[in-house]
């Protein structure tokens, strides 16, 4: 039998041919159906969120595809993102959950896929939830405060600058969803913008001295409990849960300028070997059962328009017109400027 030989030129042509055919792998028909033994790896936050997706996404998914396995990598967003970046193209994750600005950046960086209608419930998403992955929950950032310490209800972001709060502000650390919202809103309401952030920094500096710099919602709630601080900028969603179960004195403002958008985003990694299963996962997350669990358990607002919400729950969520009022930003600029801004924040605001 003659030995099989390939000339270099022939080989190159083969490679080119393979390259030309390769995109076909990404067309719908080429996506393999899930089969028993497949393992979907999901990177998600721990605690209540892990519990909800286990109950309302994993269970129905296993019912639909018996024999597949769901595994979780638990952690905070920064660790998860750093890992996904390090593994770009050959991910160990199939689905990762990110915040709004990280998710859009991750799509541009080729780490995660842009959303497509291959996920059935994609059709029901609000437009703002169709960018950088599949928005699965709105948890906008707003002003939260101890109403006993307020001479009148807070109705504007500008109220933070009222003299009555001097020395009582717990400013959120930057970067991070709350700190980013705080900085961007400060710039915006005082005449600046993402492109003119200086205004924001100057106004935040006026608030010094701070009662504290808060690094997480848990930390802030401890500060409120202990009377360390009286006003801050935080996710309204879980703060409402906190106010109801722990500290009825805390009020969640709905400022005239709108609440700053923040969103949990489910992202399917580029290079996943479980494309179909990942899409099914996201689809089930967007299905009514999971959306309702998020809404009723931790007051995260639905990103789909087709959900019927009980009347008693409606005032606690951001729905319909309020979604349109959410303040969005030019996340390109925000992400690009983050290193410079965080360096400035560390020097001028914190410490």
């Amino acid at each position: 039998m003659p030995a099989m030989t390939i000339s270099r030129r022939h080989f190159n042509r083969l490679i080119l041919g393979a390259g030309a055919v390769a995109p076909l792998h990404f067309t719908r028909t080429a996506v393999a159906q899930p089969k028993p033994g497949d393992e979907l790896v999901v990177g998600v936050w721990g605690g209540a969120q892990e519990r909800i997706v286990r109950e309302h996404v994993e269970k129905p998914l296993l019912a639909k595809y018996p024999g597949v396995k769901i595994s979780y990598v638990l952690g905070g967003t920064p660790e998860r993102r750093a890992r996904a970046y390090a593994e770009r193209g050959r991910p160990s994750f199939d689905v990762i959950y990110l915040n709004i600005f990280e998710s859009r950046q991750a799509v541009r960086d080729g780490v995660t896929q842009a959303p497509t209608a291959a996920v059935e419930n994609f059709a029901h998403l609000y437009d703002v939830a169709k960018l950088g992955g599949y928005g699965v929950a709105f948890n906008p950032v707003t002003v939260v405060y101890d109403k006993r310490k307020a001479s009148k209800p807070v109705t504007s972001w500008k109220d933070i600058w009222n003299p009555e709060w001097k020395g009582r502000v717990a400013w959120p650390s930057y970067p991070g969803a709350q700190g980013t919202a705080g900085l961007l809103m400060s710039a915006k309401i005082w005449g600046g913008s993402e492109a003119n952030i200086d205004v924001g920094f100057q106004k935040i500096r006026e608030l010094k001295p701070f009662a504290a710099i808060q690094g997480s919602q848990d930390q802030l709630y401890g500060m409120f409990d202990q009377g360390v601080a009286d006003i801050s900028i935080e996710f309204g969603s879980f703060t409402r849960k906190y106010a109801e179960t722990r500290n009825p004195n805390i009020e969640i403002a709905n400022p005239v300028e709108g609440q700053a958008i923040a969103m949990n985003v489910a992202c399917i990694t580029v290079g996943t070997r479980n494309q179909k299963l990942a899409e099914e996962w996201v689809n089930l997350h967007l299905a009514p059962a999971c959306m309702m669990a998020y809404a009723s358990d931790i007051y995260y607002s639905p990103t789909v328009k087709n959900l019927v919400i009980p009347a008693d729950l409606r005032p606690k969520l951001v729905l319909g017109d309020d979604v349109a009022k959410l303040v969005d930003f030019d996340w390109d600029t925000v992400i690009r400027s983050q290193p410079a801004w965080s360096s400035r924040f560390n020097r001028e605001i914190a410490g």
Binding site: G47, L74, E79, R83, G215, Y221
Partner: protein, 571 residues
């Protein structure tokens, strides 16, 4: 005439030093090299190649920036403060432990190890509730009509207390072994010459325990100057440490080069500090080197001795009480919280009794599998660490050879490199790392993190061995192996036990590096709890910690029946 050393004796040192060196070359040199290469990148590019033309840009940025220099200086000062505090509180504690009747010793150990058994997030919350405006300390002061201190939280002092609490076990264990080894004859001699208890401590036990103190000081300083989880939780971002900066630059800003350079600057500072401590201890213990000019060692003026005689006993008791309170108060909060019917773990004050968190810890959720992963990993880490560190310690104590000093500096390097940076280095190696079986990969890294402690503790232990016993055995015809088996090993048993325990606990609690490397099938318990805290922590974590503490007390009690935790002749 000295007897000729047996053939092959020259090889003993390198052979003993080989296992640990090989392990570190395989598992630590690679991430460290990545960190070194990253620090020489001109600018951050998350997807760029690792090998780039070297540039000093990052180091110039750091050295030319007052903010970075300030944070580095403050971090080193914090480390020094924590070290001083742990030494001050740890010493009376170690003396107390040594003098405790053998029957009660397991309980004593458990008290000291409690902070290591308590998850870092849970522990920090305990300190928050201790120092808060309505916290335990202020409530206690209120009973005496003292107005509350409202500014204790979110300060360097708060971070220092939190770090001192968790690093105290390292200091105490390092001291315990050498204090334990001091021959009772020395004490009897001092007593017969009329030395008071205080003088005995100052003039005999303290100088003799300096090698242990050295190990403790180096370990605590390096750990506290690279810490970041406690610093974040208790400093409230008003306190900045380099560990926090490294984390922020590497993860949030994806600026790995700057993070790597910062980590290396800290490593250098750590190595210099270690050398300084070694030089100081060498000066204070001239009898150990046996060469060079004989200096006076540690002496105190007469008036100071009188003063110490007067206030010493009281001061010692006060410090011991403070140390025990610092260890036990947060524990009380952890136990109380584990039965507390509250929505989140950060709630202060007791509301109602519930078993809910225990139910969830034991049966609900995935705590049990995570616990098993952590347990297996920690047991394996403890065993491997002792197996590797024991020969290394013997090389350091007995078979020194040219180049060993440099080699031992390499062994300690993983301690002075902020652990976040090891994680960042591992990120670049994830593709290789994920080829390994998940358990083996985590084990390799955990052993790396544990080795510096294991070597330090066992080195101090090996140096305390009584050579006369070995000579006696040798004169009776015991071979090298049987001398090791029947004389040295039993002599080092407390050190080995302490090392194994310490390695187990460090591995069991490790979260900084593991959170970068955890895979879907291998989520350790601390990573699970840390992940939960990234959203909102529930008291399940407290229930888990309480169960662990209970289990440890029981295990130590059983262990104490099988292996005595003290030396033969101290009984």
């Amino acid at each position: 005439l000295s007897p000729r050393p047996p053939a092959g004796a020259a090889l003993a040192g390198p052979l003993l030093a080989a296992p640990v060196t090989l392990w570190l070359l395989a598992a630590f040199a690679a991430p460290f090299a990545v960190v070194a290469l990253l620090s020489l990148h001109d600018y951050a590019d998350p997807f760029g190649p690792l090998l780039q033309p070297p540039a000093a840009t990052q180091f110039r940025t750091i050295l030319g920036d007052g903010f970075y220099l300030k944070v580095i200086a403050e971090t080193l000062a914090l480390g020094a403060g924590v070290t001083a505090l742990t030494a001050l509180l740890g010493y009376p504690l170690a003396l107390w432990l040594v003098r405790l009747p053998a029957r009660w010793r397991p309980l004593g150990f458990a008290v000291i190890l409690i902070p290591l058994l308590t998850n870092v997030v849970v522990r920090s919350l305990g300190i928050v509730l201790l120092l808060a405006p309505d916290g335990l300390i202020n409530q206690g002061l209120g009973l005496f009509g003292v107005p509350p201190f409202r500014q204790m939280l979110f300060t360097h002092g708060a971070v220092m207390i939190a770090l001192a609490q968790v690093f105290m076990p390292f200091m105490v264990l390092a001291l315990y072994d050498v204090l334990q080894a001091a021959s009772p004859r020395i004490r009897e001699a001092a007593e017969s010459l009329g030395a008071s208890g205080v003088r005995r401590v100052w003039l005999i036990e303290l100088p003799l325990s300096l090698p242990g103190l050295r190990a403790g000081v180096v370990i605590v300083f390096l750990m506290s100057s690279t810490a970041y989880v406690s610093a974040t939780l208790l400093g409230g971002k008003k306190v900045w440490t380099t560990g926090m900066l490294v984390w922020q630059e590497a993860l949030q800003n994806l600026n790995a080069p700057l993070a790597a350079a910062l980590a290396l600057v800290m490593t250098l500072a750590g190595v210099l500090a270690t050398l300084l401590v070694h030089a100081c201890v060498a000066r204070l213990t001239p009898w150990r080197s046996g060469s060079g000019p004989r200096s006076q060692g540690l002496t105190l003026p007469f008036w100071m001795l009188r003063l110490l005689d007067l206030i010493g006993p009281l001061l010692g008791r006060l410090l011991l009480a403070a140390a025990l309170l610092l260890l036990l108060l947060p524990l009380a909060l952890v136990v109380v919280q584990s039965f507390n019917d509250v929505p989140q773990a950060t709630v202060a004050g007791f509301r109602a009794f519930t078993w809910r968190w225990y139910e969830r810890a034991l049966f609900g959720g995935a705590y049990a599998p995570s616990f098993l992963v952590s347990l297996q990993l920690a047991l394996a880490t403890g065993a491997v660490a002792v197996a590797l560190a024991l020969p290394a310690a013997l090389a350091l104590a007995r078979h020194r050879f040219r180049g060993l000093s440099a080699l031992s500096a390499f062994w300690m390097l993983s301690l002075s490199l902020p652990h976040v940076a090891i994680g960042v280095g591992m990120l670049k190696l994830l593709q290789v790392f994920t080829l390994l079986p998940a358990f083996a990969g985590l084990l390799a890294v955990h052993v790396v993190l544990v080795l510096p402690f294991a070597i330090s503790l066992l080195h101090a232990s090996a140096e305390q061995l009584d050579r006369a016993q070995e000579d006696a055995a040798a004169s009776l015809g015991a071979s090298g192996w049987s001398r090791f088996r029947h004389v040295m090993l039993p002599g080092m048993a407390p050190g080995v036990a302490a090392t194994a325990l310490m390695s187990f606990l460090i591995s069991f609690g490790e979260v900084t590096v593991t959170s970068f490397l955890t895979t879907a099938r291998m989520t350790t318990l601390p990573v699970r709890i840390y992940a939960e805290a990234s959203f909102s922590l529930e008291p399940t974590a407290h229930a888990v910690s309480t169960l662990l503490i209970l289990a440890t007390v029981l295990i130590l009690a059983v262990l104490n029946r099988l292996v005595r935790l003290d030396r033969l002749y101290a009984r």
